[in-house]
């Protein structure tokens, strides 16, 4: 809801309140003089209050449906079991009629535009490497996705953004000039991320830890949004063919993995466990735990395969992170205890809804087994158990480490531009959560520098940059595990954070780390 709308609404509310007050203010409700209070009159008044609560509820619900949730309700599309898609005909008409705005990258390059070659307008996507971010434009068939959906009002000019436009929109019902939407996406980095992922299934997210601005967000396999575009009836047959082909693909090309993919985070989650335990004062980076090659918790044996030196049994928290020692981190989790663990997860927003351009799956710390069960707590502490997170969320966890404990609100749209090119609205960076202290963040960051210095992430080192990183290998239920890498890089302090997650992509120290290092180098190198 934009500000002129809010002003109008408040004014209407005041007027209506005045009306009600005028209707009720006279002596009718007052108790007649000289007689005692008639209890039945009080019952009548109570009945009035109960029913008017109902009416107020209606008013609230009306505002919710027609204003707060309006864009989501209006642009919602859905399919029945036969695959027929229902979408709002008004949205279709508006998006076809309007001089739809362009989607621009951070430097103003055109990623998607409406071309008018040959008379009929047609939506064209130039930046296919950002397919999932841009979404598709299929008003006659499959609706919208990505920015095309989330910013449909601005792109089609339906959403009045200034007072002048609000006044004009009262007089003129539709067909406003489309606004351009400028993203935070860096075209080179996005292209690089898409290329690096092209032979695999997975995702990569590059984000600035201070501002939360997303520089690249790629998901693979990708798809060609142009194939789904339906501007006119003649597009429908080819769009249908492309759509059914995409649905038939087991790797689910339409899925935006960074926000909609839920994965066990594997060892990358040790970053969280270390941060939680150190922030709570349960351990210090140099606290020593015993790791003899296995740990038995309530009869279950947790084996240790990661020790670089099998004769050594004493390991610090920092070394445990560098060498990814499950037995050490299981013990840290148990030392912390279920309540503090859950509390920290909540602080880090796991299971919460991330405020973002697109809906983000909220993830979970525990499923059927509560963390009160020691086996579940131990498993979760090193990133297994029933833990599920999105790659975007792990990127934000890394942001908190790299940014002195502050988790930024992720931003994908930099600004909405007026048709004359001036800025209409601009996204300001803000902190979403502050899960840990700056001190804790600093010590975790130096532990992650060490991890790149001598541990399993040492291949992530880049000459000339300070690189922090953690690999992860998460049991996937199939033979090949999910491969993870989260990390940050900067000339001095971290200037960029990466989160790479490859579906069934093998050890995190392999391809996931390579992709992460490439992206960090490209993004942070001055």
């Amino acid at each position: 809801m934009s500000s002129p709308e809010a002003v109008a609404l408040v004014a209407t509310g005041l007027l209506l309140t005045l009306t009600i007050w005028l209707a009720l203010r006279d002596e009718g409700w007052r108790r007649p003089r000289g007689r005692g209070v008639d209890p039945q009159r009080r019952a009548v008044a109570k009945l009035g209050i109960v029913l008017s609560i109902g009416l107020v509820g209606l008013a609230g619900r009306l505002l919710y449906v027609s204003m707060v949730r309006a864009n989501a309700v209006r642009t919602r599309t859905g399919a029945d079991t036969k695959g027929d898609v229902l979408s709002n005909p008004r949205v279709i008409a508006a998006s076809l009629n309007a001089d739809r705005g362009n989607i621009l990258d951070k430097d103003g390059g055109i990623m998607a535009e409406t071309s008018r070659q040959g008379g009929t307008p047609r939506r064209e996507f130039h930046a296919q490497e950002a397919a999932h971010v841009l979404g598709y434009f299929s008003p006659l068939r499959y609706g919208f996705d990505g920015i095309e959906r989330s910013r449909n009002d601005a792109l089609s000019g339906a959403d009045p953004l200034t007072v002048e436009e609000a006044i004009r929109s009262i007089v003129r019902s539709s067909g406003g000039d489309g606004h351009d939407v400028r993203l935070t996406i860096d075209p080179d980095l996005q292209q690089r991320a898409a290329n690096l992922l092209s032979q695999t299934t997975g995702s990569a997210t590059l984000i600035e830890p201070r501002s939360g601005r997303i520089l690249a967000m790629a998901s693979s396999p990708a798809y060609d949004p142009n194939a789904l575009t339906t501007n006119a009836q003649r597009d429908i047959a080819s769009a249908d063919a492309a759509w059914h082909e995409l649905l038939a693909n087991d790797n689910r090309p339409l899925l935006m993995r960074p926000t909609s993919g839920l994965y066990p985070p594997g060892s990358t989650f040790k970053v969280f466990t270390a941060a939680a335990a150190i922030d709570a004062g349960a351990v210090r980076p140099d606290t020593v735990f015993e790791d003899t090659g296995e740990l038995t918790v309530n009869g279950r044996v947790i084996p240790e395969f990661n020790r670089p030196d099998e004769t050594r049994t004493q390991w610090t928290v920092a070394e445990g992170l560098a060498w990814s020692l499950n037995v050490v981190y299981a013990q840290i989790g148990l030392t912390l205890g279920p309540e503090k663990f859950m509390d920290a997860a909540h602080q880090f927003g796991i299971g919460e809804t991330i405020p973002f351009e697109f809906p983000v799956e909220s993830g979970q710390v525990a499923g059927q087994h509560s963390l009160d069960d020691e086996v579940a707590l131990a498993d979760t502490a090193f990133g297994q158990g029933e833990l599920l997170v999105t790659p975007l969320h792990m990127a934000l966890v890394m942001c908190a480490i790299a940014n002195g404990g502050r988790m930024p609100k992720p931003i994908l749209v930099d600004a909405v531009l007026n048709p004359d090119g001036s800025t209409s609205t601009r996204s300001e960076p803000s902190t979403w959560r502050r899960p840990i202290s700056a001190q804790t963040a600093g010590s975790i960051l130096s532990m992650l520098y060490e991890s790149v210095g001598y541990g399993y992430a040492s291949r992530a080192a880049i000459a000339g940059l300070n690189v922090a990183g953690k690999t992860g290998t998460a049991e996937s239920g199939r033979e090949a595990p999910h491969g993870w890498f989260i990390g940050s890089a900067g000339v001095d302090a971290p200037s960029v954070v990466v989160s790479v997650c490859l579906d069934y992509g093998g050890e995190g120290g392999g391809l996931a780390l390579d992709i992460g290092r490439e992206l960090l180098a490209a993004a942070a190198m001055p």
Partner: protein, 441 residues
């Protein structure tokens, strides 16, 4: 006194007349390309506006002393309904549609409703006569329902209409007034006994013998309406009866017991009847079956979310995409074209109506009048809550009309009758008070 009253009532009614004329003009301006719009229909706006403005004048001449806010509020709602029907006419009416001349018929019914309101409001307290025949009233209404169930005309999958030739009434609307009349008379007559206790052996119980006829008739009426598949009316009857019982007896325990019985009954209905299950499913998630059972609600959601604050403008939206938009979903049409502001205004008008009605109840001199006023004003507010709540997906949708706004002759006439009764009660209490002031001072 009388002239002061005229100027307030007439001044407020002027808003309704302006709304009517502007609404017709706006939809004409937005759709004049469509040939079915004629100047004849603009004339009907003028006729309606004149009729509305005549009411306060007629009453003023006839020395009407009733509440002077209620009529203008009804006039606004009637105007909103007439404008919406006029706007929907070219899209869902016309010679090819089974709705035919929707707007024309609606205009006639609005005019008839105004006449009913004027006459009942000032001159014709028929219910003081019916008060002596309370059982006859309610049994007669239930009988009519029974006849409808056996020999009625079926429409939209429900058999609710009883007709002779081209004259038709929806008997389930009639039972509402019948039941309110019966309950008011019964609760008034048995007032003392209802507050007593029933001594059975050594137990002190509520006055069961006096509650039994009440409960039996209520349950029979409810079962009848449920058998007719008219769940909305059943909900409305039940809530209205509960409101009247609460005011008359002031026992929260009765309310609790009744609500428990209601939820038990609903759970039973949910488990037993598919139709109820489908409605609950549509309420929770219409997208489960978007092209069949959820279609109507999804179209309504689309319409309401497309309006924004000020709406698309009359004639510029596409509310005709919602099936049954002229009856059950008229509120969605208003929200789309008049915006959140228009929808809020409708809700608030019902709020004002409710409070003015209850104010009459609170000031009533006789208990019979009081119960009647409570029943009538609560039933209108509850009906509005039931249908608007259904459209907004706050409650499961049960089809009832939006009073004074939806198309449907019986509903318009009987709600006008209810308002007429309320105003008559108010008139008589005011006259009595002025008379006693005169005598005493």
């Amino acid at each position: 006194m009388v002239f002061w009253r005229l100027h307030r009532e007439l001044g407020l009614t002027l808003f309704a007349a302006v709304l009517l004329c502007c609404g017709y003009a706006a939809s004409w301006a937005n759709e004049h390309a469509i040939p079915t719009i004629s100047t004849g229909q603009l004339q009907s706006a003028a006729v309606l506006a004149t009729a509305l403005l005549l009411v306060p004048i007629v009453w003023s001449v006839a020395r009407m002393a009733s509440d002077d806010i209620i009529f203008p509020v009804c006039a606004l709602l009637l105007a909103a309904g007439a404008v919406t029907m006029h706007r929907l006419q070219p899209d869902i009416g016309g010679p090819d549609s089974n709705l035919g001349n929707l707007s024309g018929r609606h205009t006639v019914y609005v005019l008839l409703s105004i006449i009913v309101m004027v006459v009942t409001g000032r001159w014709f307290p028929f219910w003081s006569f019916l008060r002596r025949y309370k059982y006859l009233t309610v049994v007669g209404s239930i009988g009519l329902l029974f006849v409808t169930l056996v020999a009625g005309r079926e429409r939209y999958g429900a058999r609710l209409w009883l007709g002779v030739g081209s004259f038709e009434i929806q008997t389930s609307e009639l039972i509402k007034i019948g039941l309110i009349l019966f309950l008011a008379a019964y609760l008034h007559e048995k007032h003392e006994m209802m507050h007593g206790r029933w001594q059975l052996w050594r137990l002190s119980l509520p006055p069961v013998p006096y509650l039994i006829p009440l409960v039996v008739l209520l349950v029979v009426a409810l079962l009848m309406v449920v058998a007719m598949n008219d769940l909305g009316t059943a909900l409305l009857l039940f809530s209205t009866a509960l409101a009247m019982l609460y005011v008359a007896l002031r026992r929260i325990s009765y309310v609790v017991v009744s609500l428990a019985a209601f939820f038990a009954g609903s759970a039973f209905a949910y488990a037993t009847f598919d139709r109820v299950g489908v409605r609950i499913q549509n309420w929770l998630d219409p997208w489960r079956d978007p092209f069949v059972s959820g279609y109507q609600q999804i179209q309504a959601d689309y319409a309401m979310s497309s309006g924004g604050v000020f709406g698309t403008g009359i004639g510029r939206g596409e509310p005709w995409r919602i099936p049954a938009v002229h009856t059950d979903y008229v509120f969605a049409a208003i929200v789309e074209e008049w915006g959140a502001v228009g929808g809020l205004a409708i809700i608030i008008l019902f709020g004002v109506l409710l409070f003015r009605g209850l104010r009459i109840a609170a000031r009533a001199d006789s208990l019979y009048d009081r119960y009647l006023a409570v029943g009538l004003s609560a039933s209108i507010a509850i009906q509005a809550i039931v249908i608007i709540g259904g459209v907004l997906r706050m409650l499961p949708l049960t089809g009832v009309t939006l009073p004074f706004v939806s198309a449907g002759g019986t509903s318009l006439l009987l709600n006008a009758l209810a308002i007429g009764m309320l105003l008559n009660i108010s008139h008589r209490q005011q006259v009595g008070r002025e008379w006693s002031d005169h005598v005493l001072t």
